[in-house]
């Protein structure tokens, strides 16, 4: 039986297997957008697409598991809003725990990108 070791956080504070990196990246983007103001799910995806100038195109379907996990972990808080004459919508906002998590993720990604640039930016063409 083969035994796959669990991904361990590195000096960057991030787990470097592709799945964990993707999850951490999604989490950081969502928390960062919510840090500005509470938003609905579809607004989140559009905002991320807009901020990244179209580079990060979220399929909204992939957003729900991430949002619901963040909510279950207490990092964001969902509430139903009902604007007058409009359909009720679920709006998400950042919690205190979410702000702390965002700060930690920012540090981790800053370190990660700085180290990555150290490696790939040495040799000018």
């Amino acid at each position: 039986m083969t035994d796959t070791p669990d991904p361990q956080p590195t000096a960057t504070g991030l787990e470097l297997d592709p799945q964990s990196l993707a999850r951490s990246c999604h989490e950081a983007m969502i928390l960062a957008v919510l840090a500005d103001s509470p938003r609905h799910g579809y607004q989140l995806a559009l905002e991320i697409e807009d901020r990244s100038r179209g580079a990060f195109r979220f399929n909204h379907g992939t957003l729900y598991p991430i949002l619901h996990k963040l909510e279950a972990d207490g990092l964001i808080d969902g509430a139903w809003t009902a604007p007058a004459g409009k359909r009720r919508r679920r709006q998400y906002g950042l919690t205190a725990g979410g702000r702390e998590r965002l700060a930690a993720l920012r540090d981790a990604w800053m370190t990660f990108t700085a180290l990555l640039l150290e490696v790939i930016g040495r040799n000018d063409p």
Binding site: H40, Y42, Q43, L46, N59, H60, R87, R89
Partner: protein, 243 residues
């Protein structure tokens, strides 16, 4: 009727989750679909194209659906699932019969003298009873305060753990009483009978009270689980009716 009904029905059929949880997810998806639809309309698309584009954007892959089910299965622990199982009529009847049986058995076993035999270990058990009552009151207060349906199951398992704690303390008390009696009997064989009977009386009286309080905790949990499930269904139903 919503223009996205068939899409939502298809998505709902792929979500292997309890009805209330599934309904809340579908309502969220429906509201996002409408939001995206409006957004694409404002971008100049026709209604048909905007609806198709919104569905395409919100469509969930099998992997995303599996992940969503996993997230909600994690949130709903084994006690929650047990709470759902306790809903059918047969289960409620079985629970009621069990309670009646235990109360009748306790009525026969417990009288005024039982309390005279209780040991000091009754105090942690009384503390557990107080915690059960406080938990019950807090949860009932939360129900009346428009709780977040996704978080209403938090602390639902507390009465069960308190009940388990009461059982553990009860058996521990009986065990310790018996051990101490045996030690004393070894050094004082003449008074063995009296020491032994006092230990057994104290241990069993405390154990009976511990078991009764565990039963109370179980009933409290059963009631709260039922209320929670009904609240989720009501909320889900109310949101699903929105068009």
């Amino acid at each position: 009727m919503s223009r996205f009904n068939s899409f939502l029905t298809r998505t709902g059929e792929r979500l292997a989750l309890p009805k209330a949880t599934r309904s809340l997810i579908l309502v969220e998806i429906a509201s996002d679909l409408e939001g995206l639809f409006q957004f694409y309309l404002e971008q100049g698309m026709s209604e048909e194209d905007a609806a198709a584009r919104a569905e395409e954007k919100v469509d969930m892959s099998d992997q995303a659906l599996a992940e969503l089910v996993r997230v909600h299965s994690e949130v709903r622990g084994w006690t929650d699932r047990l709470g759902k199982v306790a809903h059918p009529f047969g289960e409620r009847m079985a629970m009621s019969l069990l309670v009646i049986f235990f109360v009748a058995a306790a009525a026969v076993a417990v009288d005024g003298q039982t309390f005279a035999h209780l040991t000091l270990y009754i105090w942690p058990i009384v503390a557990i009873l107080v915690l059960v009552v406080v938990t019950f009151a807090r949860q009932m207060a939360r129900f009346s305060d428009r709780p977040n349906p996704r978080r209403v199951r938090e602390q639902l398992a507390t009465p069960l753990f308190l009940g388990a704690g009461s059982v553990v303390v009860g058996f521990l008390s009986a065990g310790i009483q018996l051990y101490r009696a045996l030690v004393r009997m070894a050094y004082d064989p003449a008074g063995a009978g009296r020491v032994f009977s006092r230990a057994v009386l104290g241990g069993t009286a405390t154990l009976v009270c511990a078991l009764l309080i565990a039963l109370v905790a179980g009933v409290v949990w059963f009631v709260l689980a039922g209320r929670t499930a009904r609240l989720e269904d009501t909320v889900a139903g109310a949101y699903t009716e929105v068009r």
